[in-house]
């Protein structure tokens, strides 16, 4: 493979992995606090449409990205009010959030279908970006790609090296004990869920502003669900999330290359790859029950209510 092809493959893997990494990092933090939000797909879609609409109307990609994070967080707020304050079932509420998000995004985006937007600007550092092979890969990405790594690093530091992160994990593992010590269980879960929503919003914005700079209905195509599966794949450990997101980025890109190789495999079968891979990965990870039990937050998906 000549180096130009190699570089372009790596670049496309990065861009396919970034939305997954962003959304999965947010969901991981939410799940660590005990909140299982299955609405990632809906939050990503709202982020995608809000990011696109704001960028197009204001001309500022930065504003668009901020708005997308805000939109995703607002969606997570609906989820949080229902599950944390009104003690609704988290699985059902997450599904409702996805159904609602698909509809809301489609309605907000109806007038934007088919319109082009400028792709997010890439970093350019003289000399560094011009380096052979590694130049474009390391020094030529757009802001959200770098942010996905910063957010992952920040999450690792926060969860495992800060006191606040310790408290958040305690809330996820034993909300009764955390409450007895005096930590505000519900407030912490609100915070974690909103962070998850904002990150999903950013993942969506990456899709509509960089991956394919346009808006189309259901453009996330199940990535929200794949992000959820990645959290299980990573057994709730952030660094493994990086591995998972890039593995799936690779599978997504493999799909396009298989199609152009002309092997005679129908395009639809090749498009099944990421979904089938998700199932395979889930099966492989879940088979070892002790691994899941040891790493999953013990209170994941369980409502907390102070009695007495």
């Amino acid at each position: 493979m000549d180096s130009a092809v190699f570089v372009s493959v790596i670049l496309s893997v990065i861009s396919a992995a970034t939305p997954l990494l962003l959304a999965a990092t947010g969901e991981l933090v939410a799940e660590k606090s005990g909140v299982l939000n299955l609405g990632v797909e809906g939050m990503m879609l709202v982020g995608a449409v809000v990011g696109f609409a704001v960028t197009l109307t204001t001309g500022s990609a930065f504003l668009g990205i901020v708005a997308a994070a805000f939109g995703g967080a607002l969606m997570a707020l609906i989820f949080s009010v229902l599950t944390l304050t009104l003690l609704a079932n988290q699985v059902a509420t997450g599904l409702a959030l996805t159904i609602f998000g698909i509809g809301l995004a489609a309605m907000m985006g109806a007038s934007f279908v088919g319109q082009p937007v400028d792709k997010l600007p890439s970093l350019y550092l003289p000399l560094l970006t011009d380096l052979p092979i590694v130049g474009r890969i390391l020094f030529g990405q757009d802001g959200l790609v770098y942010f996905s790594f910063v957010a992952l690093g920040g999450t690792i530091w926060f969860l495992f090296h800060s006191h606040a992160g310790l408290v958040l994990r305690a809330v996820g593992d034993s909300h009764d004990a955390a409450h007895a010590i005096g930590y505000p269980v519900i407030a912490i879960r609100y915070g974690a869920a909103l962070f998850g929503g904002a990150m999903s919003g950013l993942g969506g914005a990456y899709l509509s502003l960089s991956y394919t700079p346009m808006w189309a209905e259901d453009m996330t195509a199940g990535r929200g669900w794949i992000a959820l599966a990645l959290v299980v794949f990573a057994t709730w450990r952030p660094l493994r999330l990086l591995l998972g997101a890039y593995l799936f980025g690779g599978i997504t890109i493999l799909q396009f290359h298989v199609q152009t190789m002309g092997l005679g495999i129908p395009a639809q079968f090749v498009s099944m790859l990421p979904y089938l891979a998700t199932i395979v990965v889930l099966v492989v990870i879940s088979t070892d029950r002790s691994k899941i039990r040891l790493n999953a937050p013990a209170c994941l998906g369980r409502a907390f209510h102070v009695t007495g």
Binding site: I78, L86, A88, I99, F100, I102, G103, A106, Y275, V283
Partner: protein
């Protein structure tokens, strides 16, 4: 002054039934507000969406035609949800049922004397069951979450559908459109009432509601499902196997979804097209909850959601609202329902605000 949430001693029967009604009322109110914001006359819009579909010619019969597949799927799902088996891939099972049934119809395309639809029924059920069996196998054998696997399989089923209609099953005389031949009269669900589109599938949905009610209320199996969901440990002590309940939930849910898919291609749609998956599998999740996971409740819940589909279509034409309004309404309805369900297990108490210590 603030509101406090206080647990009730036991579940409130009143609110178990009151919550869906309150949720529907709140959804209507919210829809009114959305219309006002969009600059439409709220009352006029309400009439177009919720009354006109019923008073239109053949309105009631159309409501049942629309509701039948949703009700079928939701009865199956509600059995599973009771046992905490979260089959959210009903949409894919519905598509698979339609694919299997269409396969039979196309295989016997030249047969005119024999009612091919009789063979399509088991084919549709089988298709849905196969697609439901995969998550059941992966769950019981490898502990993989049925939520994620069944959903992933929905994308796979949709792609399989697309492959068939642009590839091997494409109508040779269809001017290149991605769809199969129109199914023959022998492969169509029989029409039952002249002048309406009521077909065998509608009757099948009613029968399934009755069977579902019987299963849940009168059989040991129904009892097992209830116990497994409400008290998993008690179920384990009683020797009820979670594995067999998982299999049962996904096979019944899949089979009924497949049957719904079969009746859609053999009935209102008449051929396999990429437009087949319209989200009935997801709407059925809402219907299952709205119907209190009970087949009779599901019947009425299914009709309400069918009305929201018909109303959404009317709103598109008469008010120029996007099709997505239906989905938004459905999402809002489920939000309100889940919120109102708080009142089943808790009551609200107004607490006078305490004076803060200085």
């Amino acid at each position: 002054m603030r509101l406090e949430i206080v647990p009730r001693g036991e579940r409130s029967r009143l609110w178990a039934y009151g919550s869906p009604i309150l949720a529907i009322a709140l959804t209507l109110l919210t829809t009114l507000m959305i219309f006002a914001v969009l600059g439409k006359d709220p009352l006029e819009s309400l009439r177009v969406m919720w009354i006109d579909p019923l008073t239109a010619r053949r309105g009631i019969s159309e409501l049942f035609v629309k509701g039948a597949p949703i009700i079928m799927i939701a009865v199956g799902l509600s059995l599973g949800f009771r046992a905490n088996v979260w089959n959210i891939g009903a949409e894919g099972q519905y598509v698979m049922g339609a694919i299997f049934a269409t396969g039979v119809a196309l295989y016997f395309y030249d047969v005119e004397t024999f009612p091919v639809w009789v063979l399509m029924i088991p084919a549709g059920i089988l298709g849905g069951m196969v697609w439901g069996a995969i998550p059941a196998f992966l769950k019981t054998q490898f502990n993989a979450s049925e939520i994620l696997t069944s959903l992933m399989l929905t994308y796979v089923a949709n792609l399989a559908l697309l492959y068939l209609v642009v590839g091997p099953w494409k109508d040779p005389e269809g001017y290149g459109f991605p769809q199969t031949r129109l199914l023959t009269a022998a492969a169509s669900s029989p029409h039952l009432i002249p002048g309406t589109r009521i077909h065998l599938g509608v009757v099948a949905a009613v029968i399934i509601v009755i069977l579902g009610w019987f299963l849940l209320s009168k059989s040991l199996l129904g009892f097992k499902l209830k116990v497994a969901g409400q008290a998993p440990r008690a179920a384990a002590y009683a020797g009820f196997s979670t594995k067999s309940l998982t299999w049962l939930s996904l096979l019944v849910g899949g089979g009924l979804s497949g049957l719904a898919g079969m009746f859609e291609v053999a009935g209102p749609i008449g051929q396999l097209t990429p437009a087949l998956p319209t989200g009935y599998g997801f709407t059925a999740i809402i219907v299952a909850f709205l119907g209190r996971l009970h087949p009779v409740g599901v019947f009425f819940g299914g009709l309400v959601l069918a009305l929201s589909y018909l109303g959404g279509e009317k709103a598109q034409i008469a008010l120029g609202l996007p099709a997505a309004v239906t989905k938004i309404n459905q999402g809002i309805l489920l939000f309100y329902l889940l919120g109102c369900d708080l009142l089943i297990r808790y009551r609200l108490r107004v607490v006078p605000s305490k004076r803060r210590a200085a």
